[in-house]
């Protein structure tokens, strides 16, 4: 969920930098582990409490250096630090798609994670996303997967079921939109999502393609699979929503714009990340208590399935850090059930450890978590593993092509054929 991280705390960073410089004398025996993370306010505030048990147990210190800017800028900065073999930072909090691009700079955690039992506790798809050529690059600390948000009150009012296919969604959305508009609710839209040309569109479009059985752009073995009839059908379906059940402006929407339409009560369906659940039930929300979530619909044809793009964050240990051993230990702790539970309770982050979804305490604090377990069963990773260092370029080519199809500048079949050739150029 990129935008959430973008709201990182500028003012704290100077303070933390200062702390990082001054702190070494603090504990006599222990060492100091420096963690860099582009976290939201709650994560910065919660960090001390989160690492306190680890600090007590080991006698070490964990210092957080919060990054001020967007995930994209964080990525650029981290890559420069790592390329320069900077020894100041021991642990990096990494986005789910970064691992393969930065793999060569991180320590292989396969063995330690196996010994700690983390491999078997985590969702297999999440571990897979952090594994590059058999090497576990980072330990998952929390995760993210989108779902279909739907208005229970409107579906009930118009006697409709929760759609399980895109065709049903389109039909239901159109029906309710027309009916509501006929009743004078002129601003009602059927379905809002993220159509802006950015990383988020890669997530949305990957779900459409995968749900129609059209593969995952570049397959795990490196085959470029995007130019196929099912993918064409998926994009044509989505292009058909623009201007009918989705406002034209959806082509400029990121997460927050779609949430804006949804939360003011002007949409029947929304595709979004879990963060919108708590906010949607907030006091200022027009849809509080009158919506629920379900897995995203599936397409049709061979191999059709529901698909949700995997998001989430992980801890990677720098090969160049001064305190590698302690850093590995801290990474294992942050990925453990104990730390993930603390995060779930205090920051509302979705755990990556399966058993925590049955934890009574967590479910009491976040009742919607139970529904996400089902969503994770259909999680699909972005093709960051097979494309490695070229992922950003691949993703940009993909969302640019998709955006031109959605906006009607190009036919889906032509766009995907060109995309295939462009991807060959990048990946050959």
């Amino acid at each position: 969920m990129n935008h959430k991280m973008k709201a990182a705390a500028l003012r704290v960073s100077a303070l933390a930098m200062a702390a990082a410089l001054v702190a070494p004398a603090a504990s006599a025996q222990g060492v100091e582990v420096t963690v860099v993370s582009g976290a939201v306010g709650a994560a910065v505030a919660n960090f001390d409490a989160l690492v306190a048990p680890w600090e007590e147990r080991t006698g070490n210190d964990a210092v957080l250096v919060p990054m001020p800017a967007s995930t994209t800028d964080q990525f650029g900065q981290y890559r420069l630090w790592l390329a320069a073999q900077n020894g100041d930072i021991d642990l990096y909090q990494t986005d789910v798609i970064w691992a393969p691009q930065l793999a060569e700079h991180f320590v292989d955690l396969t063995q330690v994670a196996t010994e700690a039992g983390l491999i078997e506790q985590n969702f297999p798809s999440i571990i897979e996303s952090q594994t590059v050529e058999g090497k576990l690059v980072a330990i998952p600390i929390f995760t993210d997967a989108p779902a279909l948000f739907y208005r229970t009150d409107l579906l009930e009012k118009h006697g409709r079921e929760v759609p399980t296919t895109w065709a049903e969604l389109q039909e239901t959305a159109q029906f309710i939109q027309d009916a509501e508009r006929a009743e004078g609710n002129g601003e009602m839209w059927g379905f809002v999502w993220q159509g802006n040309a950015y990383e988020g569109l890669t997530c949305d479009a990957l779900e459409w393609v995968k749900s129609f059985g059209g593969g995952q752009i570049v397959e795990p073995d490196g085959t470029i699979s995007i130019n196929n009839p099912q993918a064409v059908q998926a994009l044509e379906t989505a292009a058909g929503w623009v201007g009918t059940i989705s406002p034209e402006g959806v082509l400029a929407y990121q997460e927050e714009e779609s949430r804006g339409v949804w939360q003011t009560g002007n949409a029947v369906f929304m595709r979004n990340w879990p963060y919108a659940y708590l906010l949607g039930n907030g006091e200022d929300s027009a849809v509080a208590g009158s919506f629920d979530v379900a897995p995203l619909p599936m397409g049709e044809g061979e191999g059709a399935q529901s698909a949700a793009t995997l998001g989430g964050w992980n801890m990677a240990v720098s090969r160049y850090g001064d305190q590698q051993e302690a850093a590995i230990d801290l990474a294992l702790y942050l990925g453990s059930a104990e730390a993930q539970k603390q995060r779930a309770l205090n920051e509302g982050n979705l755990p990556t450890i399966q058993s925590l979804y049955e934890d009574a305490e967590i479910l009491e604090a976040n009742p919607y978590f139970a529904r996400w377990q089902e969503v994770f069963q259909t999680a699909v990773p972005r093709p960051s593993a097979p494309t490695q260092g070229d992922y950003n370029e691949v993703s940009t080519l993909f969302f640019t092509a998709v955006h031109s199809v959605l906006s009607g500048e190009e036919e889906a079949a032509d766009a995907l054929e060109d995309l295939e050739a462009d991807l060959e150029d990048v990946l050959e």
Partner: protein
């Protein structure tokens, strides 16, 4: 001081040269720190960029070396596909790059033209004497004072298709019957960007032009008035020619600025093909893709294109000036 020397060029030429070279030496030592600074912050990075553009450097290896010299491959090269067809690659064969060049030039031309005309109008108004002029002069600078990122965000919400105030106003007045997705549609994205840039930069243009206007001696207007010449004629025959040097400088500033536009477009219509500019492509290549070779090639081309425009502009400006002199 200089006048005494140059006024008597015949006398004591030897003393003059030694004095001059002494002065030149002193001047050089005073300038040296500045030259060293300029070398490190301008010449060296420029040189490095150009060097990178001839290598296959990646973000991961720029510190450790390991990149190889590839000649002009980043600019233009080709590869044979499996089916025997040839695919051209490199920046010069990249349709996205030429799209960005065209966008940038279109944007620069239209925004500078609009800002110059509007800025001139505003400057003429501000040059007139009226009550509260100081306040108005200060107030008109507000758009320029707001950081671009902030104003781009602000306009982003104002132009929003569902809750934007611009659509609301146009709907209320009845100019449109359904909201326009300004930043999303390919045909309105450039208009939206131009609108915000003109709003932001016209005050800056007005200020530069106002400074030029105030240099024009008042008595020229007074004599024109006494002669009973029509104000329009005064404007075209007196104000505009005398304003020309200031106007030229203002336009060149703005053209340079507009050709490297990044922030406004990056925030308002991120990566939309209808508005993507050379700077955005180059940023993407360097920072997001980590491809220092091709990104540097794009930066180098951007540098060359801007240099070309400046030379062209200065050259055209001179031709025009000499044409006037011959009249």
């Amino acid at each position: 001081m200089t006048t005494t020397i140059s006024a008597n060029p015949e006398r004591s030429r030897g003393r003059e040269t030694s004095l001059q070279s002494q002065r030149a030496r002193a001047a050089f030592w005073f300038l040296a720190p500045m030259l060293v600074m300029l070398f490190f912050v301008a010449a060296w990075p420029l040189f490095r960029s150009i060097m990178f553009s001839f290598t296959d450097a990646e973000a991961n290896d720029i510190f450790t070396g390991g990149s190889e010299w590839v000649g002009f491959d980043n600019y233009l090269s080709w590869r044979v596909r499996d089916d025997g067809s040839i695919r051209w690659r490199g920046v010069l064969a990249d349709a996205d790059w030429w799209n960005a060049v065209w966008n940038t030039i279109r944007f620069a031309f239209m925004s500078v033209a609009l800002e110059t005309v509007l800025g001139l109008l505003v400057a003429l108004v501000l040059n007139a004497e009226f009550k509260g002029r100081g306040l108005v002069r200060a107030a008109i600078l507000i758009p320029w004072a707001i950081p671009t990122i902030v104003s781009a965000r602000m306009w982003g919400w104002m132009l929003n298709d569902q809750f934007g105030i611009i659509n609301d106003m146009l709907l209320t007045v009845g100019f449109i019957d359904s909201p326009i997705a300004w930043t999303a549609r390919a045909d309105t994205a450039m208009i939206a960007v131009l609108m915000v840039d003109v709003w932001k930069t016209t005050p800056f243009m007005a200020l530069l032009i106002l400074a030029g206007l105030q240099m024009i001696p008042r008595d020229m207007y007074e004599s024109a008035k006494i002669d009973g010449i029509h104000p329009m004629k005064v404007f075209f025959r007196v104000t505009l020619p005398l304003l020309k040097p200031a106007l030229m400088v203002a336009v060149i500033f703005r053209v340079l600025d507009a050709l490297r536009i990044f922030d406004l477009i990056y925030v308002l219509t991120p990566q939309s093909e209808a508005t993507v500019t050379m700077s955005i492509l180059s940023y993407r290549e360097l920072q997001q893709f980590g491809d220092y070779g091709e990104g540097s090639a794009q930066s180098t081309l951007l540098f060359l294109i801007i240099a070309l425009f400046v030379l062209l502009y200065i050259w055209l400006g001179r031709v025009d000036l000499s044409g006037e002199r011959s009249k």
